[in-house]
Symmetry: C2
Subunit: 424 residues, 2 copies
């Protein structure tokens, strides 16, 4: 109880709505120190630095934080000092049965994945599971290392991670398109398929087909706040993460749904050798969060998430509608079986293109204007593209829009001047 | 508050002292289901199966669970639904500043490690850090993969893990003794030094010295409940884990203390690529646990731990003192700077030897007598040895002693019969 009260006291600390104080944050003179949003400062985060750049580089999913603050009472969880101290739950499985049940129920309610007769492996975020999957799929006997491929533009962590661990069993080969008809090349292909895609939000299918190819479906963004859900995904190997579902990136929790028992055992072995399973504290927190998400069959939660994302997209689309200099990706509206209506999608990222001939280095164009995105080249997408994260705090988004509006406004002044100049 | 009450209700569920019910356990007819200790069953864990084997295989550190139950009020922590949702704390470091401070303070209070001017990396248990360390130390330029070596008997995870990840950069080479004078072999050596050693509890130093050799000191058991602390350890690369300090193996939290900044950056990069840091929920729990440990400068906590372990060792030593068939390791008493007295050690494991000629397969001898240990051969220690875990629940230990007493009693009956038979 004391712990509960302590937590509430910290939570009630005022940071002007532009920051937060945590139980494990710094304490000065007996008072918790506010951790401010980017571009806000001062003891209560009320000082705004207007010249500060809009940092929309990372995919930090803080757009959902207000939902959890509004639902603080139902989503808080008390971890006892003696909570699941041992290594094992359910013999060797290291995973919580109740959490597994809730995950299956969530997929069934949302309708985004088939879970019947599927094995589940938990991981420390999807990151750990991505490499566990590459490991598992690369263990089939072959004379040469398996080749890991992607369709451009792609999430750069696949390449980084695959290369970082320097395994004898796999190597990164790049563009999937080059391996579409490679069954004679004596190399097994492992394809990362991100659907919806990061950076551009498109729903994707594996490019390489055939006995020699296996796909890892990264469904991090396959949730109703980002995309229409046309039908339940039913792939052999699918990976999901709490980070982009509930926004709890800091908790490091992900899961894989698997059809094949051997692949399941190999991935479970990887997680065991790597970290002896996933934190029991995290599993307890994840269970509580999913219980809240599932209240009212996900209605409140996904309404909040998709309302926020759609509002941001509307604002962004409207601002850019008068621009000839910048464009963003178009995704066809689709029927969403969760919301039971045709939906305009609202992906986590804008994939912005600089259209002017002289703006070939789009990242620098934006940076000069006070917008820090992620370079299109990082995704194999070309220097005319920049990824802008739309899932950070409202402050981050507001600042982004302030900078974008200024850019578009300059553009109109420029073109007005050109018009004036061209008049006889 | 509701969460707190919910937790207390679950905690107060009675499982006869032979089990526990958790917040995230199964619920039947609205009541949480007891999870019973090994060999106990029934709805309230009161049914004891006397024929059930004593399972002392794993190093599950549940001997500390009663301490945390006794300190339930001070050790519980409320995790808010909006607790540190983002990927990052303190820029790229992903680690809690307060937790880092507490770790340094703990080492200073216990006197078991120098932390001044040391970098700290957090990991998902020491497991993740062990391989991160091998990775970090293997990145120095060399024509061939680095060789990973150990002194026998050794903790088998080093070999398993090193081989599992199939890296181009390192391979397991086995016995350190063979590499003591190998500076001409053009291979960099990475030596795992476990001190106190698992399985036998001896304090250890690196066997291989020289420019071509680097050591990973695994100090999992270097705490006052297991060993005398002669002086603060001051090695280049030292790894500790919450599992064997507070008993929270399920939380998956460990840390490395590092002198070298490049090694620090490589290990941090490994943890980032592998799992994007360590769960914030776990970091919050770890902070609370260390705050409790540090109350009264660690006195209460380490008194509880060492009293429990010493009592178990006394019981075990006494039972075996009349045996000619079995022996256990002897470790010289040493001055412990934490307790400020000469201390008999009380390691986590008994390293038991079968002395009779016919008992060459000691594991099977014990198994037949209802004791499941871990085979000496798993540690490279020979089949006459078996590791017995002394850090599981009191029930596990009591059952072990019941079986050992029966074995020793049989032995005395046997020798009495031999004596009778030998009489003229």
């Amino acid at each position: 109880m004391r712990a509960a009260m302590e937590a509430e006291a910290v939570a009630s600390e005022l940071c002007s709505g532009h920051g937060r104080a945590y139980l494990d944050g710094l304490v000065v003179d007996g008072k918790p120190v506010c951790e401010c949003n980017t571009c806000f400062g001062g003891p209560d985060c009320s000082l705004f630095s207007p010249d500060c750049a809009a940092d929309v580089d990372s995919g930090n999913p803080l757009f959902l934080e207000p939902f959890w603050m509004q639902n603080a009472a139902s989503s808080a969880v008390l971890v006892a000092g003696w909570h699941r101290m041992g290594y094992q739950v359910n013999d060797q499985a290291h995973i919580s049965t109740e959490l597994e049940k809730h995950i299956r129920k969530l997929h069934s309610v949302v309708g985004n994945a088939v879970t019947e007769k599927r094995f589940i492996v938990f991981g420390a975020g999807s990151s750990q599971l991505l490499n566990a999957a590459v490991h598992a799929l690369s263990q089939d006997k072959s004379t040469s290392p398996a080749g890991v491929v992607v369709t451009f533009p792609f999430y750069p962590a696949y390449k980084e991670q695959t290369e970082f661990f320097r395994s004898n069993d796999y190597k990164f080969l790049g563009d999937a398109a080059l391996w579409k008809n490679a069954s004679d090349a004596n190399v097994n292909i492992i394809e990362f398929v991100t659907s919806p895609n990061n950076p551009d939000g498109q729903l994707m299918k594996a490019a390489v087909q055939g006995d020699y190819a296996k796909a890892i479906y990264d469904h991090a963004y396959f949730w109703p706040h980002f995309t229409a859900i046309p039908a339940p995904a039913d792939e052999d190997l699918m990976i999901f993460t709490l980070s982009k579902l509930t926004g709890h990136a800091g908790s490091r929790f992900g899961w894989a749904l698997l059809k094949n028992e051997t692949v399941y055992q190999r991935m479970a072995a990887y997680v065991y050798e790597n970290s002896v399973g996933v934190s029991q504290d995290t599993q307890l927190v994840a269970l509580k969060l999913l219980q809240v998400v599932l209240q009212g069959n996900g209605g409140d939660f996904f309404d909040f998430g998709s309302t926020t994302m759609r509002s941001r997209w509307e604002t962004l689309r409207e601002a850019l509608s008068v621009s000839n200099r910048f464009s963003i990706q178009e995704i066809e509206p689709q029927y969403c079986s969760f919301f039971r209506q045709v939906r305009v999608t609202s992906p986590a990222f804008a994939w912005l293109k600089c259209k002017r001939d002289e703006d070939e280095d789009c990242y620098t164009v934006l940076k000069t204007a006070g917008i820090i995105g992620r370079q299109g080249t990082a995704f194999g997408g070309g220097s005319r593209y920049v990824r802008l994260s739309l899932i950070k705090t409202q402050d981050d988004f507001d600042l982004l829009m302030r900078k974008i509006n200024a850019l578009v406004s300059d553009e109109r002044v420029d073109s007005k001047q050109v018009e004036d100049h061209n008049q006889p």
